[in-house]
Symmetry: C2
Subunit: 457 residues, 2 copies
């Protein structure tokens, strides 16, 4: 009897075990069907590099330096050591550049939706199947992003892609200056303005255009060149104010640089509806390194000329970069844009509030005022969250404001870079959190010692 | 007794089944440790698109058109249908462009080593950690490729990256023309030459340089401008011949366009050792769409000026594109370059032999002669395998050779594009196998009917 029970127990155990086996085999079999093949190696390489811990003050890259066969951490400014955990005490807060690293954490948090696998044979051809150098799918997705944000009228516009806004700024000047005139077109901008307008226009030494300086000099004069091209940056770099063209009339043409016209940095009162508008991935998603921008153009002849410029200059934009931009647009649209803009706006708002609070007790320094405004994207009145602080040294003796800040361990960009007085300095608020935290720390120390006039490192 | 044996059998079965259980669980557990996480979705998307069958006459892309939520095949010229299996009978052989699709099969065969996973947060910054716009790792790998091929002296050279050779050609002209002279530098090239030299130089309308036409016009004249910039294409596009600068002396500067100086297209008699040499990924790996090239420069001042040009023009090259180029360089180096160059050379050699054989019976058409030469890379004397056939219509009445070929269903590029006679036509041999096969087919038919003068489609 006992043996019978034993046999029956063994049988039951065997059946259970067999069921488990079948389940496991089925699981393995089904999984095998979904297994990856040729992409596994690339995926594993990327994950291995990403898994390297850099203490939140750096990151490793697939194309980073390799030491002893292993990738190493690349540390944020002021951090060092194998895992970027060591702070360099005397290090200055470098807030000079407009490097949009404030969005980096957003993408590490959205790793799956923004990762991209590029096959070795992806788009080897010079042109897409429709013989163009512009990806139709990317164009569609860019228009969708504008539609959900409501920051630009896209109906009846042509689109041209460029290597960031950088290439498109000069492409626009080139296109607008061709008018069979014997005198070069005059390029102008309102002080304070983004340095590239002057630099580029001077650099390419074209017979067709020439930099003429501040817009206001040409407002009420009969010396206006036959053809004037006005750069209008809205919101403005460096001061974050929304702007409109100053010059009007048949010989005045405006290039609207809308790099910062996104909810991160400004209220969106209405969709921009200008004849030539330039946008860039750099200030939308933070991918400055990808070098991708686009222009929305009303006039077909201007569009043709700008397209030809990008064609003659670089044969269009890297197809890999266009694919990357498409992936990012898709990732934005997955959350209907709310996630990215909530993150971007919150980060920038907090930084502005912290800096404003610090500066509110100072008599020595002031920053620009931006009024709260109704935002059609967030559907509420919202306060400022600009990309840059346009700081002014108020003391008569502080004529070189950059030097005053430098002595206190803060590296900004001097006013003269924006054709303004050196009493002004631009502080970038869009760099990494480490950079911003250090800026705030140094600024607090500087203001704390304001009364006793001690310059603090 | 029978029950006892039964019990013992059940026990044995149970133990065996348990062992299998443990093995399967262990296997699953260990595998789980190696599983991918955030990269899986991107990898699966890429593999799904790649698995679409397009009959070998097309392929689907991640950024291709989507119909009913699914990617669709993009077919080679002359093929159509959902899987590209239908040949369009009247379709002309389009061998106009220099689209290097002959290397596409190499990369589909090397899918694993050339696939690249780009993280969403890859290199968002404007600059690399060393504040440059040039990836050090990529530079290192490019130099390694030159070292194994032996086609360029790289010691003591500076490197600048550009958007294909396209951007670098004008960057070079810009850099070499800045000499504080009141007269613009003259840009010249020897007929037949690549059209971009003239087009670009004219297009940018700089005060510093001007296109002056054929080099030979300036050889023995005192009218030579103070400063002459000579484009030297070696091997030459369109005729594949190895070339040297014609103009000498202190006021003559040469830009060597070495786009085709790779074992696919020519014997490598010795490493090129010029002061300014330009290479492009397009003709090395076939990735024309990636828009990546590089210049090797001896003179530091010229290097600085070219670097500044790419900086002002596009703020350098997309970091994603640099990463892609690095991956391709690594893939080349895995096989010590033998695999890629064996494939490239074999493909081009066979195409040349087939075309030559077809044309050998013709009195109406001839193509350029290229002598066999010792190749230091393959370490043997090797015959020609040029990128293009430079075809001549020999009959006096066939002055418009392009029209003669067009009527027979062959679209080449007319001689006048290369500033040569229209008695010549360039036929591209580097496009897809489909394009080449159709060219051969149409050419055979044309020559077959040569005697009776019938023009055949």
């Amino acid at each position: 009897m006992a043996t019978k029970i034993q046999a029956s127990n063994y049988a039951m155990c065997f059946v259970s075990s067999m069921i488990l086996n079948l389940f496991l085999i089925f699981y393995l079999f089904v999984r095998t069907e979904w297994q990856l093949s040729w992409s596994t190696r690339a995926a594993a390489e990327a994950e291995a590099v990403a898994s390297l811990s850099c203490s939140g003050h750096g990151r490793a890259y697939l194309d980073g330096l390799v030491v002893d066969g292993k990738p190493v951490c690349e540390c944020n400014t002021c951090f060092r050591g194998p895992d970027c955990s060591e702070f360099s005490p005397g290090c200055a807060a470098d807030v000079d550049s407009g490097n949009p690293l404030f969005l980096e954490p957003f993408w590490t948090q959205h790793a799956a939706s923004s990762a991209l696998l590029v096959a070795g044979w992806h788009r080897m051809s010079y042109s897409y199947n429709d013989h163009s150098i512009i990806s139709q799918e990317l164009e569609k997705h860019i228009l969708k992003v504008h539609a959900i944000v409501g920051n630009a009228v896209t109906a009846g516009r042509f689109i041209v892609f460029g290597a960031g806004s950088t290439q498109l700024l000069n492409a626009a000047v080139h296109a607008l200056s061709l008018n069979n005139s014997s005198t070069p077109a005059g390029v102008v901008a309102s002080i304070p303005f983004y340095p590239a307008y002057r630099e580029q226009t001077d650099f390419f030494r074209s017979v067709d255009y020439k930099f003429f300086g501040d817009t206001s000099l040409w407002k009420n004069t009969s010396d206006v060149p036959k053809n004037v091209i006005e750069f209008v940056t809205s919101p403005n770099n460096p001061d974050g104010l929304l702007k409109k063209a100053v010059l009007q009339g048949p010989s005045a043409k405006a290039v609207y640089d809308h790099a910062y016209y996104w909810p991160h940095f400004t209220a969106i009162p209405a969709p921009a509806d200008e004849a030539l508008m330039i946008f860039t991935l750099s200030k939308l998603t933070g991918h400055a390194g990808s070098r991708f921008g686009w222009a929305l153009i009303k006039d077909e002849a201007v569009y043709e000329k700008m397209l030809l410029y990008t064609d003659e200059n670089t044969f269009g934009i890297s197809r890999d970069t266009q694919l990357k931009a498409l992936k990012l647009m898709k990732a934005i649209l997955e959350g209907k844009g709310r996630e990215l803009f909530d993150f971007g706006h919150e980060t920038m708002r907090k930084r502005w509030e912290n800096l404003s609070k610090t500066l509110s007790v100072s008599k020595r320094f002031s920053i620009q005022q931006i009024a709260p405004q109704y935002c059609t994207f967030f559907q509420k009145v919202r306060g400022p969250s600009p990309a840059y602080a346009w700081l002014k040294c108020e003391r008569p003796e502080d004529e070189d404001c950059h030097a005053v800040l430098s002595a206190a361990g803060i590296i900004g960009r001097r006013g003269s870079s924006f054709s303004a007085e050196n009493r002004y300095v631009r502080l970038s608020l869009i760099k990494s959190q480490d950079d911003f935290d250090l800026l705030l720390h140094r600024m607090n120390a500087l203001i704390f010692h304001e009364e006793d006039g001690i310059k603090t490192m």
